[in-house]
């Protein structure tokens, strides 16, 4: 789960990380009492807002409304701006960076900081970057915070505030099941306060059940993707036109790759994962049909998911929706024979290998068969 800046800041504040005062608006006329002078900030789930013109200053209420009107509805890297956040303008003396992420290889959280905040942290020279692993088993020890503080060469009062923020951020990172907590810039103001200028927060989808308060957050899914998400189906819309239904992320990706190598493009893909519920397969397939693919490629290696369960779901969905989309099926594994029989009965074309299936799908699409 990704979080919009204003929502992430609300959570930051709950953990004691200072954030600027701000108000949220989805229409200019809703803006009544913004903290002036302010920054009007587009709320989108994508980086690079500032460079795209999504963050602009305003001095007065009228100006704030006018600027908000210009930013609302903007398209920022494919994301439509539905809300703006009007935030107290900070008197910036210095910009720092603080981040926490999971280092897969080390199997530990990684704490990062630099005095060169405000820029893309991957462009910061390595020697300017403080990086320290924090073993989750023992947690954030004081010596790590001390060395972080020392690495930033700040006045003691400022450094102490940064140290406290690092501890709060780690607390948040663990308790909220975060994959990423990032404050860039972490602003040192002219009057000696340390405040989170921006807030990035990604929470592990697997832990959604522990955080029911976040389940209805807008994740910028397409309507079909949203419907799928609510039904617990992995469904992603792409820019091609061939519908792919497979079981398991790896096999699904391998099928998309094969299509690409044969000159086709996946338009939507469905990963059935380890389900063996015919109703769920049917629901998944209905979503796929709603995306209007030109051809559907079914690639199932039966295991937990029995091949004939998938075939039955496919047949039912096609019958009920009276769809006449050509189907190419490549079926292996558990209950392979029964599945092939069902799919033959709906006129699907059978293939033996992934390559064959991909080639056939591309030919069918271009009317070559």
């Amino acid at each position: 789960m990704k979080f919009l800046e204003h929502k992430a800041k609300e959570i930051f504040a709950r953990y004691g990380i200072p954030v600027p005062r701000g108000v949220l608006a989805s229409r200019p006329e809703d803006i009544v009492d913004p903290p002036l002078p302010c920054m009007v900030k587009a709320q989108v789930l994508v980086g690079g807002r500032g460079k795209a013109g999504g963050i602009r200053p305003a001095e007065t209420l009228d100006e704030a409304r006018r600027v908000a009107g210009q930013i609302l509805g903007m398209d920022i890297h494919g994301y439509r701006v539905k809300q703006v956040y009007l935030e107290e303008r900070l008197n910036i003396a210095k910009e720092l960076y603080l981040g926490l992420a999971i280092d897969r290889s080390a199997r530990e959280p990684l704490l990062m900081a630099t005095a060169m905040g405000g820029m893309d942290v991957e462009d910061v020279p390595r020697e300017e970057l403080f990086m320290e692993h924090v073993p989750a088993m023992v947690g954030l020890q004081p010596y790590v915070v001390r060395s972080l503080q020392a690495s930033l060469s700040l006045d003691k009062e400022i450094g102490d505030q940064v140290a406290a923020i690092a501890r709060h951020a780690y607390d948040l990172f663990r308790k909220e099941d975060a994959e990423l907590v990032e404050i860039n810039p972490l602003v040192v103001t002219g009057d000696g306060r340390v405040v989170a200028g921006d807030a990035k927060l990604v929470i592990d989808d697997n832990a959604e059940y522990r955080h029911p308060e976040y389940t209805n957050l807008d994740q910028d899914r397409t309507p079909l993707e949203q419907e799928a998400h609510e039904k617990g189906i992995v469904f992603i819309q792409l820019d091609g036109d061939i519908g792919v239904i497979a079981n398991g992320a790896g096999l699904t990706m391998a099928t998309l790759d094969a299509l690409n190598l044969k000159g086709g493009r996946g338009g939507v893909f469905l990963d059935l994962g380890g389900t063996d519920d015919p109703e769920k397969v049917k629901q998944a397939f209905e979503l796929l049909i709603k995306a209007h693919p030109s051809v559907i490629l079914v690639n199932i290696f039966g295991g937990i998911t029995k091949a004939d369960t998938v075939a039955t779901g496919v047949k039912q969905a096609l019958d009920e929706m009276q769809a006449t989309i050509p189907v190419v099926a490549r079926i292996k594994g558990v209950n392979e024979a029964a599945a092939k029989e069902i799919l033959r009965s709906i006129g699907s074309r059978a293939a033996e290998t992934i390559e064959e299936a991909a080639e056939l799908a591309v030919k069918l699409k271009t009317g070559g068969v």
């Binding site: 992420a101 893309d120 994959e179 989808d205 992603i236 992320a249 290696f301 295991g303 292996k332």
Partner: protein, 287 residues
Amino acid sequence: MAVLLTKKARVVVQGITGHQGQFHTRAMRDFGTKVVAGVTPGKAGSKIEGVPVFNRVRDAVLKRKANASILFVPAPYAKDAAVEAIEAGIKLVVIITERIPFHDCLDFIPYARSQGVTVIGPNCPGIASPGQGKMGIIPNLIFKEGDTGVISRSGTLTYEIVYAMSQAGFGQSTCVGIGGDPINGTNMVEALTLFQKDRKTSRIVLVGEIGGTAEEEAADFIKKKVTKPVVAYVAGRTAPPGKRMGHAGAIIQAGKGTAESKTKAFADAGVRVAQYPGEVATLLAAA
């Protein structure tokens, strides 16, 4: 020999009374695995497929000498089940469960390793050593005894590749599904180390995916330490640019993680990379 799993394994199935636990208990026995006990809290005294069920892993260890555990426990309870197995003295824990919160894995996987316990997974299809045993969910029929080691991050893609290998006459010493999660108990380099040492393994197949840097690290290790021929497949060349883990993630990955980066790293290490899963077997024949 095989790696990780041999005839000596006495397996306890945690979550044996669930649909999956039950189904796979039967399949694992059919494969020749000694499934000696099951554990489901509150279900002690019952039997599943003739296997006695206990409330605690400790009972399975004391009464049935279980020394390896496989978890079919739902994600919210997986950490609890894994720690229970570790504390009961189990030295090999295979975790099939998918969607375990990452922070649970950050807790119990380093803990397991600190206790000298090997964890396979989570979110994996398990391990199978044809002729020795299976702790996992891969269909029995696709395996063939042989001398090729398989290491895979994927589930069904592993079935696909193992099936094609068996058809082409390349049987497996052991197939290790290390799992697709960001944090896993045993990584590619560790699995490679085992296969490089194993006398029954003559060649190795690696099945990778986009994301993370496991393949790049594996390639680096192969260059330095692996003398056996390696063939690889990497899924996700055309996958949509998934969620990029912010700038902090970019630092950790340092330009790695893409299919191109992985394919190139493998090629630089002398590993042949298949374009299609089915091509793995063809490349093995040429290796």
